[in-house]
């Protein structure tokens, strides 16, 4: 039906876009939102706050044993040393991957995610397949991400049901001795801090 077809060629029905536009107009008219504030909120999470923050935290923990100890005992305070504080990161917990333990974070009930260190969650994190299977079939989910861990590795799945937000401290890859914090941060992927991926090895290509 060409008459129903708007200029937006995505899979989103245009009536949804219109419904949202109408709602925003109403909220602005009633003085309940300031459109300029909405622009700042969007820009904050699209361009300023994202997984590069978490990567800096992880790189420091890999480089500085005292910092790592602080991160694992009082994550919120340790992360605040970088200024990464606030909404959806008020109470942080860091969990460490080792040769025998692999941590993976999910929110089966909604989409709880540590915004100050990772930004907003990726689409798959909020969608039914991940939320349904992460607690039941974590090895199968890891396989979807191309990750296979030894049978002997204990997989710990953290279901963030409360106002605690979890950051996975991935294992430092081999062959990274002597790398600077900045170089190490480039190896830390978003997924490695959720626990659905591993940190990259030097020379490995891009991964989320």
């Amino acid at each position: 039906m060409p008459g129903d077809h708007g200029h937006d060629h995505s899979d989103v029905p245009s009536d949804l876009a219109l419904r949202v536009k109408a709602l925003e107009s109403l909220l602005v008219e009633k003085g309940l939102v300031d459109p300029a504030a909405l622009d700042v909120l969007i820009d904050t999470y699209e361009t300023k706050v994202g997984p590069r923050n978490g990567a800096k935290v992880v790189a420091r923990a890999w480089s500085d044993p005292a910092y790592k100890a602080r991160l694992l005992s009082q994550a919120g305070k340790a992360i605040a040393e970088f200024g990464f504080t606030g909404r959806q990161g008020e109470d942080m917990i860091a969990v460490e991957n080792t040769d025998t333990t692999h941590n993976m974070v999910v929110c089966t009930l909604c989409s709880c995610y540590p915004w100050p260190v990772l930004g907003l969650p990726p689409v798959w994190y909020k969608a039914a397949p991940y939320r349904a299977r992460a607690v039941r079939d974590p090895r199968g989910v890891l396989k979807d991400f191309g990750v296979t861990l030894p049978k002997s590795t204990e997989i710990r799945v953290w279901d963030s049901t409360a106002e605690l937000r979890y950051l996975v401290l991935p294992q430092r890859p081999a062959g990274t001795d002597g790398l600077s914090e900045d170089e190490l941060a480039n190896l830390v992927t978003r997924d490695s801090m959720i626990g659905t991926g591993l940190a990259k090895t030097p020379g490995q290509g891009g991964a989320p």
Partner: protein, 207 residues
Amino acid sequence: MNGAHDLGGMDGFGPVDPDPAQPVFKAAWERRVFAMTVATGFLGQWNIDKSRHARERMDPAEYLATSYYEHWLHGLETLLAETGILETAPAKPALKADQVEATLRKGATARLLDEVAPKFTPGQRVTVRNLNPTGHTRAPRYIRGRSGTIDRDHGVFVFPDTNAAGTGASPQHVYSVRFEARDVWGPEDTQGATVYIDLWDDYLEPA
């Protein structure tokens, strides 16, 4: 409530699509829904638990058939209708652009300073009470009736069930409780996994 949002352990949704090219927002309207939801939260007319409960009350078939930010849109429309703030002026002014950064940076912790004695201690065996409230709750269905071990005490927090109902914060301890996969999914489980779930005093009883 036993809604469609409570997805843990369900089958049939297929594999996870970890496509790294997926943007945070798939369409322009999603950006606006996200920002309107965050901004109106600062009007002080509802709290995060009421907000979650508004999304959870979406018709279950519709919830499963729609995208994430459609859930948010439904939730926001529900909250606006139920609070009536489109008709009556809110007590607080709208969040301004120059307030956004400081407001986000400050956050809003659910941790409370109330001195409440913990009912359980790390290492103790506990069972999740078989509660099926029709209101908001954060004890997922898959863990009710299961037994695990208190791993750590996170301290005192707002209790979502009463906070969503508007009947108070009911300050109480939240614990990370460790469950063996076999104790959750049965003896056939071969994952060698453990599940750690954050649970409040009122959800638990001694095993």
